[in-house]
């Protein structure tokens, strides 16, 4: 039982972080139909920027974190304006190649500045072990879980009730009709990229805080997003959140209850993914193209 709680909490933390990254990915896909292969690299850049601000420049962490987010917003806007916008109307495969290129560039820049070896990240979240119903969990994981949950809740609120959130979803549905409402499609794209980059940067900081600052590992997070969004539905925000939690839990349960020598932990999520897609081809919450005349 202790083990179960232990695994559940760990899985939920991992899953919530995955959900956060997936959410950024879905935002971009929904708003602008771009499959962003550089999502994981936004994570990495965020973590390194936080490292630079907090450790290298010695700025206290709350401000350092805000600066990181602000820098990520700028990065998102620049990427959208100068890399993706000129690609509007180009074939999907070219756009994908551009995001893959962006990913390599970001990696190269980070390793040129900070090198490739892992570094200790300042742990501003306390990692005192807590005893929860017999399971021992470091506090930073629980704080991360709570933080991510609050953030995800804020997003749900933003998309349901705020003017800009509704404008973003409207644009995702029908660009020309959104334009006819006076919604600026350009600023919606810019908003999607900047929110996405900021959220990824925050996820990067959380991961680096829990594990360590390691470029390759952080960037690799980007690939783990795919099973999550395919499971949840590429264009669904609730889907990204639920998909993240399911994959996170599945990985941890499989690792915890099967022998590591079988190496099932990374396979089982994919098996479940395939099973679900057989029943729901658009993913759990993927938007069905509504057909009516």
């Amino acid at each position: 039982m202790d083990k179960f709680i232990q695994l559940t909490l760990t899985g939920m933390t991992n899953g919530a972080i995955l959900a956060l990254v997936a959410l950024g990915f879905v935002l971009i896909y929904k708003a602008s139909d771009v499959i962003n292969f550089a999502q994981g690299d936004f994570l990495m850049v965020g973590a390194y920027l936080a490292y630079a601000f907090i450790v290298q420049f010695g700025i206290i962490w709350p401000i350092g974190l805000l600066l990181t987010m602000a820098a990520a917003v700028v990065l998102g806007i620049v990427v959208e304006r100068f890399i993706l916008r000129p690609m509007i109307g180009e074939p999907i495969i070219s756009v994908i190649m551009v995001t893959i290129g962006l990913s390599s560039v970001l990696r190269a820049v980070v390793s040129a500045i900070w090198g490739t070896t892992g570094r200790a990240f300042p742990s501003f979240l306390p990692d005192t072990p807590l005893n929860i119903a017999g399971a021992i969990i470091p506090a930073d994981r629980l704080i991360a879980l709570a933080l991510v949950m609050v953030l995800l809740g804020m997003f749900m609120f933003f998309f349901r009730f705020s003017k800009e959130g509704i404008a973003m979803r409207a644009t995702a549905d029908d660009q020309q009709a959104a334009l006819s409402m006076g919604i600026s499609v350009k600023s919606v794209f810019a908003m999607a990229w900047s929110i996405s980059a900021a959220v990824a940067a925050l996820a990067g900081v959380i991961v680096a805080n829990i594990v360590e600052l390691n470029g390759a590992a952080l960037a690799g997070f980007g690939l783990r997003v795919f099973p999550v969004v395919i499971l949840g539905g590429m264009d669904s925000i609730p889907g990204a959140i639920l998909g993240g939690l399911i994959i996170g839990l599945l990985e941890v349960y499989t690792a915890g209850y099967t022998s590591p020598s079988l190496g099932l932990a990374s396979v089982v999520p994919f098996i479940v993914l395939i099973l679900i897609l057989m029943v729901k081809p658009y993913g759990l919450f993927g938007e069905i193209r509504i057909e009516r005349v």
Partner: protein
């Protein structure tokens, strides 16, 4: 209020669609713009509302003025802010948003956010059916309900001029009558000026204060609705009425002549 002077519109740099189109919409009136398929009615509206750009269309000549100011270089968002709102052909509701969120999207450009709740209620008094379905995803509304939503969404922007592109498209005759009644009510009660593009000439001529008929990218006939209803060409081509007693062969010849005159 709105005037188009000799405008020319070209798609993809080569396809000339509007060829010297001129039209006036006076404040507070309902003006109908009729014409057969492909005449350029939708293009005319998009030229006014700034929606040609995403379709690679461009106004290459002439001028478009609204309340005395040139607007044809403005982008779509600025034009909505000035008070012109186009209800696009085919309803174009945001399918994955519910009814109320669609209405909110319509109010996007407004700065008086406090007033919006009351205006949503005002829209519901015109369209009680929308209120019953306020939390329903609009992709699953019936065609008529979607058209109501599209018009309600336009009202949410509090425009001075609403341009409606074929609001009767694909709706049952009874519902079309309802929609037209509501359009006239909006015009009378809210004082909103209306430019109405229609295939259903009979209803449009009943509702309008003035009407234009366009063919092949320009206006070929204009006048007050009664005058047009009495015009033999309009009766034949748009209202589907034959002059009693005319022999078929004779009519065909006349038909050809009239077409020719209109197109030249």
């Amino acid at each position: 209020m709105l005037s188009l002077n000799n405008i020319e519109v070209i798609y993809n740099d080569v396809i000339l669609v509007l060829k010297g189109m001129s039209l006036e919409v006076p404040q507070g009136k309902i003006v109908a713009l009729l014409g057969s398929n492909g005449a350029g009615k939708s293009t005319t509206l998009k030229a006014v509302s700034g929606l040609l750009k995403p379709e690679d269309g461009e106004v290459t000549d002439g001028s478009i003025t609204f309340e005395g100011e040139d607007i044809h270089h403005l982008d779509a968002a600025d034009i909505v802010r000035r008070g012109i709102f186009q209800v696009m052909e085919g309803r174009r509701v945001f399918e994955h948003l519910d009814v109320e969120q669609n209405l909110l999207a319509g109010s996007y450009t407004r700065s008086d956010r406090g007033q919006i709740k009351a205006d949503i209620e005002a829209v519901y008094t015109y369209f009680p059916r929308l209120k019953e379905r306020r939390r329903q995803e609009s992709g699953y509304l019936s065609g008529g309900e979607q058209q109501m939503l599209a018009i309600g969404r336009a009202m949410m922007a509090k425009p001075k001029l609403i341009m409606l592109d074929e609001p009767s498209l694909g709706l049952a005759p009874l519902l079309v009558r309802d929609i037209f009644d509501i359009i006239t009510r909006i015009n009378k009660e809210q004082g909103t000026t209306i430019l109405l593009v229609e295939q259903n000439a009979r209803l449009a001529l009943d509702a309008a204060d003035y009407a234009y008929i366009m063919e092949n990218g320009r206006i070929v006939l204009a006048g007050d609705p009664q005058q047009l209803k009495d015009n033999a060409d309009v009766r034949e081509f748009y209202l589907g009425l034959n002059e009693v007693g005319t022999r078929k062969s004779y009519r065909d010849v006349k038909h050809y002549k009239r077409r020719k005159r209109w197109l030249s």
